[in-house]
């Protein structure tokens, strides 16, 4: 009997906690009930001011700060490389794709762009002015290091 009461209490506590947490967590699952149709949110404006963005960590693929609408990127043509390929960077003044783009996954350097690096948009993306849906607690490594007391 005592055990039954205890487990009932525990179950109730779980339910209440679940309900409370559910209210805390941001909803990312659309309308309630989910079958209801709501108008799509407006498209956000892309950031196209041509100003290079800081990388949040050294390995981050740099963001694209310009418009890329209508740029060809398929088996036949790659518009990104028309500026960012090594041989076009002087006339375009665009940053060259880094040397890692000439390496295969074993680290061997190839003569041209590695096929696995051909799909630029798999890693490099433009940004919009959209507000984040959930708060981001990411802390820059430099900020962490600066908090540490340096030397003596």
């Amino acid at each position: 009997m005592r055990r039954l009461v205890l487990s009932a209490w525990a179950g109730a506590a779980c339910l209440v906690a679940g309900a409370l947490l559910a209210q805390e967590a941001p909803r990312l699952t659309g309308p309630e009930p989910f079958t209801k149709e709501t108008p799509a949110p407006p498209m956000q404006r892309q950031v196209t001011d041509d100003v290079r963005r800081k990388r949040n960590y050294p390995d981050q693929p740099p963001l694209i700060p310009h418009a890329i609408e209508g740029y060809a990127l398929d088996l036949n043509a790659n518009k990104c490389l028309a500026c960012h390929a090594r041989k076009f960077t002087e006339q375009s003044q665009a940053p060259m794709i880094s040397v890692t783009h000439y390496q295969d996954r074993e680290g061997n350097t190839l003569g041209g762009v590695s096929p696995r690096r051909y799909s630029c948009l798999a890693c490099h993306v433009p940004q919009t002015g959209a507000k984040p849906l959930v708060p981001n607690t990411f802390v820059d490594m430099d900020a962490l290091v600066e908090r540490e007391p340096r030397g003596r």
């Binding site: 310009h66 088996l75 043509a77 076009f88």
Partner: protein, 204 residues
């Protein structure tokens, strides 16, 4: 010489020629002049009506080669759908506006009728195989006339580079305003998908 004399004598005694060169017996001068004028109006009006009809998007896309390949691709681009609703139709970019140039292009286009009749691109695969060849024709044409069809709408005089992104403004100042390059040199594949660009200058 003898052949020309023989042809001339045959021509002079031809009954049709004899009738055509003899003054009319029953038709009045007024009927012939006014009738000729009316017939001329009808012919010229009809010619231009047909010409204008062949210069519409509906006419271009009445062939499935155009409708299911290039027109479908145009639909996703800014020249078909954009914020202001101004759009380019097929002839705006592919047929010159000036009369003589237009007629010259229309005569070239008889090859396209030939291609349609004999099915040179009547499947998607055939079209893709010929795409580089066809695209090179259009690039060459636009290079030769200094991208005239682009400039019918996009004039360099009205182009305000201060309203462009710095990247675009710098490129236009360096290459377009100096006359060093023409629109099609950089803006390839803006309205249709591109063929394999291997070996095309400026592409890798």
């Amino acid at each position: 010489m003898a052949a020309i004399a023989k042809a001339w004598s045959w021509f002079r005694v031809n009954p049709w020629v004899l009738t055509a060169t003899r003054p009319p017996v029953t038709l009045s001068l007024a009927f012939l002049t006014l009738g000729g004028f009316v017939a001329g109006v009808l012919f010229w009006g009809g010619f231009n009506t047909v010409l204008e009809h062949t210069n519409t998007e509906a006419f271009c896309t009445s062939c499935h080669e155009m409708k299911s390949n290039v027109f479908e691709e145009l639909k996703g681009t800014i020249h078909y759908a954009n914020r202001s609703g101004v759009r380019a139709t097929c002839p705006d970019c592919h047929v010159p506006h000036r009369w003589t140039d237009k007629i010259a292009r229309k005569m070239q286009a008889s090859k396209e009728v030939w291609g349609h009749i004999f099915g040179s691109i009547d499947t998607r695969d055939k079209f893709l195989d010929l795409r580089r060849h066809l695209a090179e024709h259009e690039w060459a044409r636009m290079k030769a006339n200094d991208s005239l069809e682009c400039r019918n709408c996009h004039s360099a005089q009205s182009m305000d580079v201060s309203k462009q992104n710095p990247r675009a403004a710098a490129a236009h100042e360096k290459d377009l305003f100096s006359g060093g390059k023409t629109c099609i040199d950089c803006h390839k594949g803006i309205a249709h998908k591109l063929p394999n660009m291997q070996g095309v200058p400026g592409w890798q």
